[in-house]
Each structure stands twice: as structure tokens, then as C-alpha cells.
């Protein structure tokens, strides 16, 4: 069936492969969380880290825009408290402390199709992918042109282009897509992957969360 790589571990793997990720650490205690937050610099985000939980929001496992140590400590206590009370049977790895991301959310993903083999997906995040299924696919490997073309194919492409969104570093997104295509070619053991969300802004693209299934 293969195994799942999640959260901090997945981000570390991607960073090692040269991809831009938000700085992230796993904290196993309140003191640890406070120390990691100071090391990253405020504001930070806290996220529940459990192999048994897919939707962290539904488990009340996310705190964003924490501005100082006391907010981080309080957030840690709340997340762990809620989780151990509500879901005593589930495993807890700790809480991820992550640099606060910003910009437009996009999703980059990969799947293995029975007929086509490895395929790459790109879409706008949040409601665009959930409700409107506004995503585009390309076969892996692909060329630089395809990376650009699969962005332009989205109905919501104007969201990325609109001045209201602020300047979005589209070449950085294009590089990320192309890089992921090459990464998957180098790692045929990867069967499925979600990079969701990836934040894109004028500062480039930053992978915020990742799930990887390897054989």
C-alpha cells in the first residue's frame, strides 16, 4: 500500500530537494514551541500534527497569526488540550510551529493514473479547488511552456493576474511546477502528492503543507 509522509517530515524532504517551504519545526512541549517560534520569528502558525488527522481545521488544530510567546504557549495548550479530550484514542506527534504564510493559496499535486502514469495538477486553493474543481493537469515530464500554460488554462487565472491580488510572482509558480515534474521523474517511488496550500505572493512561492505517498 505504501506509506504516508506528512507535515514537518514532508516539508523537510521537499526542502532537501531544493523546494521553497515555510520554515517549520515539530514541537513536543509548550517550552519547545515557544523556543521554535522565537527562532522562526513572529508571527507564526501552530498546527496539530497527528498521523490520524487529515483535516486539521475540523479538529480545531490550527492557530494562525500568533504574535508573541504568550500567544504561542496558549495556542499550544489549546490544541493539545482539545485533541486529547476529544480524540483520546488518536496518536499525537506534537504541534508544528511554522512561519506565517501569506498571499494567494494554490494547490500543486501529483497522482499516478493507471493509463497515463504520473500526472501533475495545478489549481487555486480553497473554494476554487474544493467547490469549482478549477484545476488543470499535465503529463509528467513536462516542459517550461506547459507549466505556464497549465496556469493560464485555469478559469481563475485572472485571480493570479489581478492587481487586486497584489503582484504575484508567476515565474516562481512556473518554476515550482516544473521543478515538481522533474522531482517526480527522479523519484518514481512517489505515487501521490498534495502540496496544499502553497502560498504565492510577490516574495515567490512557499509550500505550507504537504502529503506524500511513497511505495
Amino acid at each position: 500500500m505504501g506509506s504516508l509522509i506528512l507535515g514537518v517530515e514532508a516539508l523537510a524532504f521537499l526542502e532537501k530537494e531544493g523546494f521553497p517551504v515555510l520554515r517549520s519545526f515539530l514541537a513536543t512541549s509548550e517550552d519547545d514551541a515557544a523556543g521554535k517560534a522565537a527562532e522562526i520569528g513572529f508571527p507564526v502558525t501552530l498546527k496539530l500534527s497527528s498521523p490520524d488527522v487529515i483535516h486539521k481545521t475540523e479538529a480545531d488544530g490550527i492557530r494562525v497569526s500568533l504574535r508573541d510567546e504568550s500567544e504561542v504557549r496558549q495556542g499550544f495548550r489549546q490544541i493539545v488540550g482539545t485533541f486529547t479530550t476529544d480524540q483520546p484514542k488518536k496518536r499525537l506527534d506534537g504541534v508544528m510551529v511554522q512561519a506565517q504564510g501569506g498571499g494567494i493559496e494554490v494547490i500543486v499535486g501529483m497522482a499516478s493514473d493507471e493509463q497515463f502514469g504520473p500526472v501533475l495538477m495545478f489549481g487555486l486553493g480553497g473554494i476554487f479547488v474544493e467547490a469549482m474543481k478549477d484545476v488543470s493537469f499535465r503529463l509528467i515530464p513536462m516542459e517550461a511552456y506547459d507549466a505556464k500554460d497549465m496556469m493560464e488554462e485555469l478559469k481563475g487565472y485572472q485571480v493570479l493576474k489581478s492587481p487586486r491580488s497584489g503582484y504575484v510572482d508567476l515565474p516562481a509558480v512556473q518554476n515550482l511546477l516544473l521543478g515538481i515534474s522533474q522531482f517526480i521523474t527522479r523519484h518514481p517511488e512517489i505515487r501521490e502528492m498534495d502540496l496544499n496550500p502553497v502560498f504565492v505572493s510577490s516574495h515567490g512561492a512557499r509550500i505550507c503543507d504537504a502529503r506524500i505517498m511513497v511505495l
Binding site: D113, Q115, F116, M142
Partner: protein
Amino acid sequence: MNEKLVQVFSPGSIAVIGASNSFDKLGYHVMKSLAGNYHGKIFPINPKSDRIWNLASYPSLEAVPGDVHLVVIAVPARMVPDTLHACGRKGVRGAVLITAGFREIEDDGGRVLEEEIKEIAGQYGLPIIGPNTFGFVNLSSGVNASFTSEFSRIERGGVALISQSGGICHLCGFLAIEQRIAMSKLMSLGNRCNVDFPEVLTHLVEKDSSTRVIALYIEGLDDPRRLLDAAKSLRGRKPIIVYKAGKSEKGDSASRFHTGSLAGNHAIWKGALRQAGILEVTGTEELLDTAKAIDSCSLPGGTRMAVLSGQAGPGMIASDALEPAGLKLSRFSEATQRRINDLLPPIAIRTNPVDMGPAWYDPKNIIAILKAVIDDEHTDGVIFLAMYASANLNLAEGMVEYMKAAHPFQKPVIACFTAPPGIWDEPIGALDRKKGVAILPTPERAVQAMANLWKVSFLSNGRG
């Protein structure tokens, strides 16, 4: 394979195995398609008759004197393996296997039999079109190797339609006759024993000078990358358009990944076709309209369109259709506008969309306006709309006269000429597909075909 296919599609001689004089046999209908139509040698094969369709017939393929290039096989499935061995021994170049009852049937025996014939074909290096096909029609060289003789009525032209389904060939083939679409090839690949889309695609691009546009109808392929890789390696040489059926398939609902659950078969096809430089169309009308436009017109260099209409309403709906299709109204240069103003009195709207109503009785001026907008450097193509009214009876014939001396248009012109049956039929036939003009039934379809011409132009040339 490629060399053999040249002889398969333009054979100097054809044997029909299972040829028959009785209407209830497919071998009868294959003979009907060939006799009196095909100019090479025809050898009917049937152990029980001497003459079939008034031609000398032979008891077996071995008994045929001389070379046989193509065989058309219409015998029961169980007899096919022996028949193919006979073809191999005779050294035929290829076979059309009309017989059904192979892997398309529920009974597992069909799949086993198909494996067997595949092996025999491999043994002799024998290309097989089918099994489970109506055959093929090569209009460019006057070969109707199918069981539907009426396909020979399709005009000869540049559209090759290659289909996974014989039914779609019948749907599109008869519409082609009705809508003056001119074809080079019409073919169903059936179960694709060893002649599949990539082989035919390569043949049509590299070896078939009569084909200008390749239209594919695809239901599903075991190895789609083979077709896509072939298309990629041939990119920019001939436009390829695809109508892909089977859109209802969803992604993997069991996947716990967003990507996996969204990666439906059609969603991937859509991206993969675009990646291979292939235009995807989503209906029969769009497939045929687009193929006809590509076969008839120059490709546009951009998206700026002139709309010329004899009546305001059709011009308005054509203009409305431009933007959603990715096109826009062009803004004429001053010189062009002056020229139009000279040709039209000021009682009409003379800016784009141009109301040509006041010139309606003067085909010479209509042609002059058309030429002026085509020469305009800010215009990439023209939508031309003419509805019949009793008073403009002579318009279409007048246009035919003036078009005789005209040079072919270097920009696409897609037109609607609408009249009661029998009134403008002849001039419409004389204008359609000549000098860079394609005629389609409605303004919206004209605009959609124009938009697809632009997409084809972009897919072939625009890759940065």
C-alpha cells in the same frame, strides 16, 4: 508499417474474402462499394460461386492470379485465423477485418481469438485495420473498402476522420455529404489489432499529402501516451483535432489526496491533449465545423475579427459570440474605414460590425468591402453573414461571378448563407471551400469555428 500502409490505403488490387451476391451478407455490401467505383483489380473470393457482382470470382486467395495488395475480410470469426494465414502466404500488404466477435464481445473466447489473430499478423508483418470495423474509405484515391457504398459520395478534400467507432463515421460521413465537408479519409479502427491511432496519425502526417487536417474520435485507449507522444513529435505539421468521448468518469473517490480525487480520466485527457498540441472539441458539430474551416481557410494570425452582415441581427449575435470564444471585433484602420464609407451610403452602420444592407443588391460592392477588411492590417479574419430575401435573389450568384477573378483570401473568411432549399444551392456550392471561404450554418457556429482556427494556429505555432 508506414511503407505498407501506403499500399494498404491506395492498393492496386483488392480481394474480398466472403464476397457475396446475397444482400444479407456484409460481403455483398463490400462488393457494392467497390464494383464500378474502384479502378484497380477486384478479386471476389467465395468457394461457392463463379461470378459475384458480375465479376469472375475465385474459390480461394491462393487461386488468384498475380499480386493482391489489400484484402477485405467478411467471413465468420472462427474462419479468420486460417484466412489470415492465407493472406500471409499470398504476401498481401494488409487487411481490413470487418468481422466482429473478438475482444468487444462478452464471451472470453472473443479475447482469445483476438490474441490469436494478433500473433498471426505479427508472424507475417501484416497490418490489420480492425477487427470489428466497417472498413475505410480513401476518397483521395477512390477506394471505398467498406460496407457502406454511399460514403463514395463524400466530396474529395483534406479532412481525414479516424474513429474508434464505425457509428461515428456513419454519423459524420453523411453529415459531411449534407454540409459539403470534403474528406481525404474516413476510417474506423475498430479493435485496433495492430493498426492504432499513432500508426495512422504518422501515416497521415508523413505520407498522405491529400490530408490537411486530422480529426480523431477517441473513446478510450490502453496506452494514451503512445498517441500523445506521436502527436508531439509531429507537432506543427498538420492540425490535429480530437473529440474524446467518455467524460463522465470521475477521479479516484477512494483517494485521500485532493489531487487523486480530482484526477478524473477526462480531466487528464484534457490537459494531455493540450500538452501534445492537439485541439480538443466537445461535439460532433464542432468537430466537423472546425475540420471544414481548417481544410478551407487560412489560419488567423490573431483574434481581431471583422463582422460583415447584410442584416443587423445576425451581425449582432456574431459579435456577441466573439468575446466568450476568445475573439474580439477589430478596429479598422482609417484607410479601410474610408474605403468602406465610399462603398456604403451613410444610412448604414459602417463601423465594425458592418451593416452591408444598403449594398445588398450590388455584389460587386459587397466583394469590395470584403476585400477591404481582409486587407486591413488590424483584422485577422472575417465573419460574413448573408440571409436570403426575395429582393437579394441575385446576390449569391453575383458573388460567385466576382469571386472568379479574386485571389484566394490570405485570412480566414467564415460565412453563413441562409436561403430556402433550392434557391441559392448552386452558388453556395460554388463559394464554399473555395478561395479561403468556409460556409457554416449559423453565426454562432461560424464564430466557434473561427475561434478554433485561432487555437489551432496558436497550438501549432504559438508555443514559446
